[in-house]
Structure formats: structure tokens, C-alpha cells
Symmetry: C2
Subunit: 433 residues, 2 copies
């Protein structure tokens, strides 16, 4: 984009206004980088509003040459309405996180064409024919590269934004920026870590089937304690720039491609929160499969495929992260020069295993938190919501809740994905008997 255009855009956008299908073409016409991608004139562009998330406007714009996506923040939570205001600055954090991710793994995130701070708007690559991973998991589709890609995304972003890689000054500066993403962090703090464990107006669940279970969780002191311990970690441990919302609705897929989207919840937090989001949502998908069985497909094999992906993702992430640490650990902690003799190398290598084991335990705890909040809290998942028979849905949800609780309370007892998978299968079988 030329400087002249940039200045014109800045001028045009002195005040925030939400765009719609009518006003969007004129806006995009003023942005060379976007108009060029679409081709032809603004009057030929086809605009569809497709936002199915909880917070924002999302448009797909198609021109004669190409297409793009426009994501604009609204000054309130879309899922709830204007009664729940939410600052536009989240678009800033999303863009900052996106360009950081592009630095790390350009092939695993959408390209960014344009960002407008005043309009709280980002124009990016139209991912097509990608679909949301969650819909693929509901449809029973296998993605052969998914585990590899998700592992790569997490290893690169969670390593290269941390003290293991960045100089202290750079990491502190980035941490300071994201400290201001207060409101979106607060949503997670409340909806994931607190509300499911107390009477809260926004909670909902499959009723009356889960009434007893919800009450039991609200009275479960060890569970509530571990939830708060994890909340303290979420609020206090600035390990890396985490995506902050890495569920299967934030991953777009084709059979061969995988793209992580929507990092507006990004901030410096515990790495395990991202890993746990992935694991927890795959476990929700696993337990929902019974609800999507048909006469042709009992979904048992597909359930096994999902569980295998959890193992592949964790092991892939672990190996990639360790390899990055070994080869690019140039940050200000665990300085290589301190461990360059044989005893030092052995000691550091052994500790890296401990480090990854602790991250695994964190991940399981956060996975459990993510599972529980999607069944007893405000925001639910399509995997379970689309199971029409409430008894069947409640059966799936009960198993997921039981595993979620187990992962939260006893996460430190699990030393491998295999033992988690085995527990999941035991719960699944128990319910089938």
C-alpha cells in the first residue's frame, strides 16, 4: 500500500463504525492491497457476513480475481449482546499475535493484507475450501497432517516467544503489550476458571440430566481448588505468547492444510493452556462421537483416530519443542555456555524431560478445564450441542465431565498420553455396557 493510500485510509477511518455488506466494498476500495486482490470494481464485489463466532463480524468478500476475509470487532460480545461491552482493542491484540505467529509459522496461519486500528479491522487471506476443524470432527473426517501441523504451530510459537529464545528485553516488551488484553483474559478467567464451579447466571447445561453432576462439581472442593491453582497459573505465569483460545473452532482445515485463526485472546501465559485447549477439545470430540453414530458408521474407529491424534500432537509438540530448545535455545535462561561440559549436557538434557513433563501436566489440567466449561458453563460446543437426543447428549457429556475432572484433579499422575487415552476409553466402555 502506498503512503498516500495509507494516509487516505487513516483519514477515512478517523472514527470507528461497524461495517456491513453495503458499506464494506467502499471501505475496501480505498485500500489498494485489498482492492487489487479482489479485482474489478467495488460494485462487483460479493459480500457475505459469515461470523459464527461469539464476538465479531466476519465477512467473506469475493471479486473477479480473488477473495478475502474481513474481520471486524464489535464493541460488545456478539453472543450476548450490547449489554456485555467488550473493547475494540482486542483487534489490535489479535493482529499483533497474528503477525508474531506469521513470523514463526507463516504456512500455518492466514496471510494478513491490511490492518486498521481505528476500525478494529483486519483483512486477511480467505481460507478456502478450508472448514472449521470442529465441523470436520463432527462429520467424521480424518486429517492426515493435522497432528503434525498443530504440533508445529504450538512448538514454534510457544518456544519462539519465550525466555528460552528471546532476549529478556524483547520478551518483557512483548509481555507489557499483551498485559493490556485485560478484558479478553477476564472472559477466560471467569468463564473457564470460575463460573462452572459456582452458581452463575450465564451457566447452562443439559437439564435435568446433568443437574446432579453440576451440583456435585459446585460442591467438589478438591476440584475447585485445582481449578483455582490453574487459574493462578493462567494469571501469573508469563511463559510465552499463547494463542489463548486454541480450540477446534480456531483451526481451519482441508485434507492437507491446517491454519490456526482468531488469536484475539493472546497474551503471555502458560504454554499448557494452548496445548490443553487442543487436547481438551479433541477429547470432547471423542466423547461426542457416540452421538453422531449412524446405521452406516458407529464412529468407533473414528473415535480411535481422534485419540491417536492426541498422542501424535503431544509427542510431535514435545519433540519439536525440545529440538528447538536444543538447537535455538539462545534466550537468557538455561544458557548453553553453562552446560557445555559432559556433566552439564547430561544434567540439562535430563531436566528438559522434567520440564516437558511439567508442561504435560499443565496441559492436562487446562484440557480438563476446557472440557468442563464447555458442558457446564456459558459457551458450549457444536460437537455436543448437535446431539439432538438430550439423554444421549447427557451420556456423552457425563463421560467428558468425568474425564475433565480426573485431568484437573489428578493431572500429575499421568505421565503419557497413553494413560490418558486408556482412561478415556475406560469411561467410554463403562457407559456402553
Amino acid at each position: 500500500m502506498s503512503l498516500a493510500t495509507e494516509s487516505r485510509v487513516a483519514q477515512a477511518a478517523e472514527e470507528y463504525r461497524p461495517l456491513d455488506a453495503d458499506s464494506l466494498p467502499a471501505y475496501l476500495a480505498g485500500v489498494d492491497s485489498c482492492a487489487g486482490k479482489l479485482g474489478g470494481g467495488a460494485d462487483e464485489w460479493q459480500v457475505d457476513e459469515v461470523g459464527d463466532g461469539n464476538l465479531n463480524l466476519v465477512f467473506i468478500v469475493r471479486g473477479s480475481v480473488g477473495s478475502l476475509v474481513v474481520k471486524q470487532a464489535l464493541p460488545y460480545v456478539r453472543l450476548v449482546g450490547e449489554s456485555w461491552p467488550l473493547p475494540l482493542k482486542r483487534a489490535y491484540f489479535e493482529h499483533e499475535a497474528l503477525i508474531t505467529e506469521i513470523d514463526c509459522v507463516p504456512e500455518l496461519v492466514p496471510a494478513v493484507y491490511h490492518y486498521d486500528d481505528t476500525m478494529a479491522l483486519t483483512v486477511m487471506e480467505h481460507l478456502t475450501p478450508h472448514i472449521i476443524l470442529r465441523k470436520g470432527l463432527i462429520a467424521g473426517i480424518r486429517y492426515p497432517n493435522l497432528a503434525e501441523h498443530v504440533a508445529e504451530f504450538m512448538a514454534q510459537t510457544l518456544f519462539k516467544t519465550s525466555d528460552l529464545y528471546l532476549p529478556a528485553s524483547k520478551k518483557k516488551a512483548r509481555n507489557a503489550v499483551f498485559c493490556d488484553n485485560i478484558e479478553l483474559c477476564k472472559i477466560t478467567e471467569d468463564l473457564v476458571f470460575t463460573d462452572p464451579y459456582r452458581i452463575a447466571e450465564l451457566n447452562r447445561w443439559t437439564t435435568p440430566q446433568l443437574d446432579d453432576m453440576a451440583a456435585k462439581f459446585r460442591g467438589d472442593a478438591p476440584l475447585k481448588l485445582e481449578a483455582q491453582i490453574l487459574k493462578e497459573a493462567f494469571m501469573g505465569r508469563a511463559e510465552a505468547l499463547i494463542h489463548g483460545d486454541l480450540h477446534s473452532g480456531s483451526i481451519m482445515v482441508t485434507e492437507t492444510e491446517t491454519k490456526m485463526i482468531d488469536p484475539e485472546f493472546a497474551f503471555y501465559g502458560p504454554r499448557g493452556f494452548d496445548v490443553g485447549a487442543v487436547i481438551g477439545n479433541l477429547l470432547l470430540a471423542y466423547f461426542s462421537q457416540t452421538g453422531h453414530a449412524t446405521a452406516d458408521d458407529d464412529r468407533i474407529d473414528y473415535g480411535i483416530w481422534i485419540l491417536e491424534q492426541i498422542g501424535l500432537i503431544w509427542e510431535g509438540f514435545r519433540n519439536k519443542f525440545l529440538r528447538l530448545w536444543e538447537t535455538e535455545g539462545r534466550g537468557d535462561i538455561y544458557l548453553p555456555e553453562l552446560f557445555d561440559d559432559p556433566a552439564g549436557a547430561t544434567t540439562l538434557a535430563a531436566y528438559r524431560d522434567v520440564y516437558m513433563k511439567e508442561m504435560f501436566h499443565d496441559s492436562l489440567g487446562f484440557a480438563g478445564m476446557k472440557m468442563v466449561r464447555r458442558i457446564l458453563g456459558l459457551a458450549h460446543v457444536e460437537d455436543l450441542e448437535t446431539i439432538e437426543d438430550p439423554d444421549l447428549r447427557a451420556t456423552c457429556e457425563t463421560k467428558a465431565l468425568l474425564l475433565g475432572r480426573e485431568l484437573i484433579v489428578n493431572r500429575r499422575k499421568y505421565d503419557s498420553v497413553a494413560s490418558v487415552v486408556s482412561h478415556a476409553q475406560k469411561l467410554q466402555k463403562g457407559a456402553e455396557q
Copy 2:
């Protein structure tokens, strides 16, 4: 100070310039709050430069009515010289930390009369007849209220700046401010956590007596690993606004009063770093006592008194912190409403003990780091430096190094101050045999 005066001061101070005994009176004459405290005219004020720290200019100014202290940052490390530049903004962080501490414990910090951002200068209460605690410990003076005051200062500041007390938004905002105290954090990161464990130009020690010990520490893989684990905690765990440099040179005392000064290293870090600074410096004082023995006083009883203070400080801190948590735990973690039934109350109470035990282990680890860096690193302590006989000094230092290493490597094995004290006494006796 009137608005008019404030504006005049702002105008006069458009550019930073280091003050001296000649220029300081004219500066203070322009600040009503200061001129009034001193009384009389600027030409009657007596100015003494007394900075014995490593970084700044410190003046005592006396007038006919009263006196005050002026602390001004220099754009370099005073101890090293202009070759080591250091940003003036540290005066800003010191002032921010001071006013936060004043909010928590006004009686335990100096009153602030004036702050000038451009001049990187704070005017504050002249603490008199207070002396630096370190000098009192060298002189063998007992302070009956010291433990109580230090415990109170740490409990209040480390509780009331944390997620246990502040709303998440406020804590995140404060964390963001202090993330920018990059350069002073970096000094600690390098000088405490790294340099003593590698060949570094600025290191020094009692040579040749400690040459072997220094080499052994540089080759001690388990020690270096734990040092780096503690460094990661220092750089990543935003638990509370810590003082950041709470050694016995940052505490001023009379027989009855105690004031914590110089929080320019303040940032959001692990609470144990402050507690450990106090404990580590008292242990250094303990091991140095043999070097200060005279014909009249073998200092054995005084050594016991010092060790008792460590127990009183930890227990006092622990009890005060727990009491604050129980009565004012209104932050966004461990919400009281989640634990208001009998099972919840029991579970939370038991966890608070675990929480404090983990903080104790952190504190011991950081205490050990503080001890080692004062013997093998750049900045040493008067407790040991004033022992003129190098053999005697090295004997004291060796014992301190051995305990320091023990606390760093095996901190998790210590469940009480009594067991630490017992180990310290064993080392002390061993050397006396």
C-alpha cells in the same frame, strides 16, 4: 506544591542534569514542599553527598527547620562508571514502587516529598538517626523490632500487589508498567543468576583462597541447573510487585524503627525473591561474625541472635501473609465464595499451607543465590569485605558458599527455618573444629 510551582519546576527541569552540592539548593528552592521542610533560605542549606550505593547520587540537605534526602539517578552504574550506561527511568520505577509501598505500609518506608521525572530525582524523608542495617549487623547491634517490621513489610507488599488481593485488571496494568524496568532486571539476571556460575570479567573473590571453590561452582552442573530454574522463575512468574533488592543495605534501622528503602529494582516477580534476599543477607551476616570477633566479644551469642531473626522473620511473614489472605483475599483467585462450605474451607486452609511451603522453598533458593553472588560475583558485602585477614574472610565465605549451594540445590528438602539454622550451625561448628 501549588500548580504554579509545579509548572515552574517542570519548566526549569526540561532537561536532565546531574545535581551537585552547589546546584541542588537552587533546585530545591523552587519546590515549595521541599523548601518549606528545610526552612530559611537556600544559601543556609547544608548539602552532603552520601551515596554509598552502587548506582545513584544521594544528598542529605539540612536547613534550620528540618532535613531531607535527595536521590538522583545517574545515567550509568556508579560502581562501574560511564562505560556501563543505565537508563534514568529507574527513578520512575523506584518512585512508583515507593508510593505503592506507602499505600501498604506507610510506617515502614520513607515519606516522599517530591518527584521529578525529567531529573530522575526523588526527595524524601531524611531517616535519622537511622543507620543501614548491614552496618548494625557488623557492629553487633540487636534490633528488637526488626523481624516484626520486615515481616510486616513483606507480607503487606507481597500480598496487596498480587492476584490474591487486586482485581485482575489492576494487577495486569501494574505488571505492564514494571515490565519496562528491563535494564535493572537484567542486572539481577546477569549478576545474580548467571555470572557467578561462569567465567565473567566482573567476577571477583578472595583469591587464591577461593579459587578452587569458584572453579568447582562453575563446574557444578546440578547447582547451575537450579540457578537457571530460579532464573526462569525470576523472569516469568509475575506473583507480586517485589522490592527486588531487599538486602540488609536496603533496610535502615534505629533500635525501634525499620524503614525499607531503594526499591528501584522493583517489578512483578516471585515473592520468594524478596524473602530470600532478607534471609540470604542475614545468613551472610551470620557467617561473617567470626571475622568481627574481638577479645571482649566472640560474637557467638550475636550469631545466635541473627539466626533467631531469620526464624522470626519467616514465621512472622508467613502468619501475617496467611492472615491477610484469610481476611482480605478479595482478588480474582481462590475466590472465598468457592470455598464457603466446611469441605471447601478445610481444603483451602490445607492448600494455603502448601502454598506457603512452596514460597518457603523459593525463598531458600533465592537466599542461596544471593549468598553466592555476593562472594563470587561483582558486588560484595561489607559484612565480609571488612574482614581484613583474607584467610579468615575466606573461611567465613566458604561456609556461606556451602550453605548457599545447599539452599539452591536442596531447597525443597527444608521444611522449616529450624532445619536451615541447624545446617548453618553445623557448617559453622565444622569450621571451628
